[in-house]
Amino acid sequence: MDKIPILRMGAFLLVTIQVDLYDRLALNLEADLVQMVNKTNAKGVLIDISAVSIVDSFMGRIIGNIASMSKILDAETVVVGMQPAVAITLIELGLPLKGVHTALDMEKGMNLLKSMIDETEEDADEDQTADDLIAE
């Protein structure tokens, strides 16, 4: 049985999809990834699809699912490296992948994740100070 490796890097999980996905493989990835987010307390998930030549409605739905599931486990998802032909096809198909963050390449995706996580932490800090002030 094929399996897509999920690598951990600090607070992030990295997934590089190197093969064309078939349905079973995509469903397994969805389950594995959500498990891993829970197990490792990851704050961000980076999915590299630069080697994927086709994303159909099923695959698009899985990507959307991964993003929403991670979101309720308090992790952000960024999809990087989408091929231009895939982007054209997705829009024509009618699947705009709303709610999924994207970046052009791994580096930009990493920066986007970092900035998103910093922001949420800053918000938390601000809430903290506000609470402290009220307490005083």
């Binding site: 064309d20 078939y22 349905d23 079973r24 030549s53 086709i54 994303v55 159909d56 409605s57 099923f58 698009g60 739905r61 091929q83 231009p84 032909a85 895939v86 054209i88 096809t89 024509e92 198909l93 009618g94 699947l95």
Partner: protein, 137 residues
């Protein structure tokens, strides 16, 4: 006048057959020098339709053809199954309509991705979907 030049029949019964079919379609599209974006459109449509066939009819047959009209070449795919058939084709062709638990983009989305799209279905007998994508167009 559309001429059929090359015809291949592929049985689709299990998930491995789907991979084989996609590879064959890809090869065929490359052979007639279809551009990358059109290849992706054709393969995505193929992927949607073959999934429908697997999900609703437990498989079927796909015919892969190279067709020619004047100076234009294209790939025609015919998906036929002996599944339950579609009672209301107009509804099935609407965005967001699905009797399964999917997004309901398969049929209308595929239609937008190809040049010609034809669907015939009889309840209790099966469904035939034919799509055609020209190399340039």
């Amino acid at each position: 006048m559309i001429l059929s030049l090359n015809k291949d029949t592929i049985q689709i019964l299990k998930e491995q057959d789907v991979v084989f079919l996609k590879n064959r379609v890809k090869e065929t599209a490359v052979k007639i020098k279809m551009g990358l974006v059109n290849q992706t459109r054709l393969l995505t449509a193929c992927s949607e339709l073959v999934r429908n066939m697997m999900r609703y009819a437990d498989g079927g047959v796909c015919i892969v053809e190279v067709v020619s009209s004047g100076r234009n070449n294209g790939v025609r795919l015919t998906f036929s199954d002996r599944g339950p058939g579609i009672p209301d084709i107009a509804a099935a062709m609407r965005d967001g309509f699905s009797t399964g638990k999917s997004l309901g983009l398969g049929l209308p989305g595929s239609k937008r991705l190809v040049n010609e799209f034809d669907i015939k279905s009889k309840v209790g007998e099966g469904t035939v979907v034919t799509i055609l994508k020209w190399a340039n167009g």
